[in-house]
């Protein structure tokens, strides 16, 4: 029977026809010839439950997944917003019913107890404690042998088990049984892992009627940005990252995120960047049947003192430039607006790092400043990797006499060199000094037309029999 296809889940109609989870497909087909079977798709189930979880953020910021088919919501202090737990439950049920989902809800003190109650409750009880005590021992979700052992010992419900001394249970069935029991009874609690970490600053607007116009939704976002800016000002902070979430009435959430290089609480700037982001979307924001909740959160904040504009406008000019940088980072992508940061090395192509402007601070290492009176010794443009060239030299280890690059010959009229740049042997993994990398001999050359190049021979003649030549950079 091992290779048989089995039913993983059945819907209401199938259950009323006597089908159950776990029976083989062939069996089920015999009983119900009209059976519609769909292959089990774990990834799709997971994606769907995640989508539901995201939608549940409307109730509480602390939503955890309880795989494979559960959600745990920490509604501590949230229920009164929905007229108590009953109102919350009714709202959830109504929304899930609209999505054609069957839900089993349970409220309990600990996540474990809620999990058990939602899945194993068979009788109506007058309060939570009694309900838990009436649960079967299967609600502990131990391995099948342990559950079987408990049943053989005559312990059918949690209440019966709880009457026994804990030490005895631990000795017979293991400490984890006791932990599970105490969590069920509410004596111990494990924190849930919320799917989305709590955000410090948040502004949101709910609508009685779903908003179907994107323009209006954007306008509301502007008001929310002003609200968030006010909240940030109270805390003497500015936001570095803003996240707007458009909750559609059919459960889909459309998140938009922007980042700024300086902390800000200027709503106009936030909205301009949001518009930039919306323009850059491959498919525009689709309101569907309308948004019923719009939320703007600020997950990342930094201290920002209250500022006063300087009379000469210095701060204003800087602000204009950072705003431009933010706008371009939003449009082109954050890794496309960069600043060059110095690195402490002498290998030419590793001397600089181009880092996204939003995250790079000015160089920690100092740039090497050249001596006055010298011509430029480093090129303005560098090829990485260097481009191979064909070189004719008058003496083997001498300067190039003539070279060919990109199918063109260049006669060398003037040169300076070699400038010898050794490899960083101290960074080699094996630490072998005698197996250091190849040394490069750099020449600054000028051709007959006055074009200036930076070329090098990769390897000395005693390091390599026939060293290759490369063009590494172009001087202005």
């Amino acid at each position: 029977m091992k290779g048989a296809l089995r039913l993983v889940a059945v819907d209401q109609a199938a259950r009323s026809l006597g089908l159950e989870q776990g029976i083989t497909l062939a069996d089920a087909r015999t009983r119900v010839p009209m059976l519609e079977a769909v292959e089990h798709d774990e990834a799709a189930d997971r994606a769907w439950i995640e989508r539901l979880a995201d939608g549940c953020i409307r109730y509480t910021p602390l939503v955890a997944l309880d795989p494979p088919d559960g959600l745990i919501l920490d509604v501590t202090g949230c229920a009164h917003l929905f007229d108590g737990e009953a109102g919350l439950a009714a709202d959830i049920e109504a929304r899930m019913a609209a999505l054609k989902m069957t839900v089993r809800l349970a409220f309990a003190d600990t996540p474990r107890a809620a999990h058990g109650l939602a899945r194993y409750r068979a009788f109506v009880a007058r309060d939570e404690a009694t309900a838990i005590r009436k649960l079967p021992v299967a609600a502990l979700e131990l391995d099948p042998e342990a559950t079987q052992g408990l049943l053989r010992a005559g312990l059918k419900t949690i209440g019966e088990l709880a009457r026994r001394p804990m030490a005895g249970i631990a000795a017979r069935f293991g400490a984890h049984t006791v932990t599970a029991l105490r969590e069920l009874l509410g004596e111990a609690s494990r924190p849930i892992e919320p799917r989305i970490p709590a955000v410090p600053v948040l502004a949101e607007r709910r609508f009685a009627e779903p908003v179907a116009r994107t323009e209006y939704a954007i306008a509301v976002l502007g008001e929310l940005a002003a609200e968030a800016g006010w909240l940030l000002e109270q805390r003497h902070e500015g936001g570095r990252r803003f996240e707007a979430c458009f909750f559609r009435s059919d459960g889909l959430v459309q998140p938009l995120m922007i980042e700024t290089s300086q902390p800000t609480r200027n709503p106009e700037l936030v909205i301009r960047l949001m518009n930039e982001r919306i323009e850059g979307l491959s498919d525009p924001i689709d309101p569907g049947f309308g948004f019923d909740l719009i939320r703007l959160s600020v997950p990342l904040t930094e201290p920002l003192a209250v500022t006063q504009l300087r009379l000469e406008g210095g701060a204003a000019k800087e602000a204009q430039v950072t705003e431009l940088i933010d706008r371009l980072s939003t449009r082109l992508g954050r890794s496309r607006v960069r600043r060059l940061v110095a690195q402490d090395t002498h290998i030419p192509e590793q001397m600089q790092l181009a880092l996204p402007f939003a995250e790079a601070a000015p160089s920690a290492a100092a740039w090497t400043v050249s001596a006055p009176g010298e011509p430029p010794l480093r090129p303005l443009h560098l090829f990485d990797p260097p481009q191979p060239i064909e070189v004719m030299a008058s003496v083997p280890d001498g300067p190039p006499h003539r070279f060919r690059w990109r199918r063109k010959f260049h006669e060398v009229r003037r040169f300076e060199g070699p400038e010898r740049i050794a490899s960083e042997w101290w960074k080699r993994k094996d630490g072998a000094v005698d197996h250091a990398g190849l040394t490069r001999d750099y020449y600054r050359v000028e051709d007959a037309r006055g074009r200036r190049f930076w070329v090098f021979r990769h390897g000395l003649f005693d390091e390599k029999p026939n060293p290759k030549w490369y063009l590494h950079g172009l001087f202005a």
Binding site: K317, A354, G373, P376, R378, L382, D384, R452, A476
Partner: protein, 261 residues
């Protein structure tokens, strides 16, 4: 009747001078340091305008880019960012910008903001945004290839934005032919043999530039310029050591900004 004709002539003359940009005061122009060139340009290159730079021949692109970087360096003061917009195409064909090389021309890489657009459309859109930002002084935009997107309308829009905000825009047109545009000046830059140092080593950067077109002014002249990195100024190669005007906006002798860097 006669008087009104006279006043008409005066108005005409005024209009002509406004149109030709002669009303730009001296501080609206930046002197290159090359006396003959500055004289021909009425004091230097205009700020808040678009200047187009072409490479004279294939292979002269590094010189055109370097020349743009040098004028931009002359134009910016301390701590002001220099904005450089490129495309992926530029990185592939012309190589990466190398910060130590920028220092060798007298620049400060920490004041450089590098934007890289995926295609010409994104590049021009970003350029028009940057040209509208009054906090900037110099903006370099590298366009490789023919760029059919860069038509007269776009060029006119860039010119208007630059005039309004005061950003000086250097539009590098590499591997392209001059087309009608709204640029204030149009240059063709080529490399020239440098004055050798001892042991026949290549000297400071030398260029030969030709003024292809100038709005309201004579064009077609050629000059040869040498870049002096220490003073951040251009010189006439034949008159090395001659008296040159003080560089605008910085002390002559030492450059505290670079020493502190």
């Amino acid at each position: 009747m006669r008087e009104s004709v006279d006043s008409l002539a005066v108005i005409r003359r005024n209009l002509a001078s406004i149109a030709s940009g002669r009303l730009l005061s001296a501080n609206k122009r930046v002197a290159t340091g090359h006396l003959a060139l500055d004289a021909a340009l009425d004091g230097g290159l205009a700020r808040g305008r678009v200047h187009e730079l072409f490479a004279a021949e294939p292979g002269d692109e590094p010189s055109a880019i370097g020349f743009a970087a040098m004028i931009a360096l002359r134009m910016i003061g301390r701590d002001l960012p220099i904005f450089w917009l490129r495309s992926d195409e530029a990185c592939r064909r012309g190589g990466q910008l190398h910060a130590p090389g920028l220092i060798e021309l007298g620049g400060d890489p920490d004041a450089l903001v590098l934007g890289q657009a995926a295609d010409t459309r994104a590049l021009l859109k970003s350029a028009s945004d940057a040209a509208r930002c009054p906090g900037l002084k110099a903006l370099i935009v590298e366009c490789w290839g023919k760029c059919p997107e860069l038509d007269l309308t776009v060029s006119r829009r860039l010119a208007l934005a630059a005039e309004k905000s005061g950003v000086t825009l250097f539009l590098l047109r590499l591997e392209a032919e001059p087309l009608p545009s709204a640029a204030d000046t149009r240059w063709s830059v080529s490399a020239a043999p440098s004055i050798p140092l001892e042991a026949d080593a290549p000297g400071p950067p030398m260029f030969e530039i030709e003024l292809l077109r100038r709005r309201s002014g004579p064009s077609g002249m050629r000059w040869r310029l040498e870049w002096d990195r220490d003073q951040i100024i251009f010189r006439e190669p034949a008159h090395i050591g001659a008296v040159v005007p003080l560089p605008a906006g910085r002390p002559v002798a030492a450059d505290p900004w670079r020493l502190s860097a």
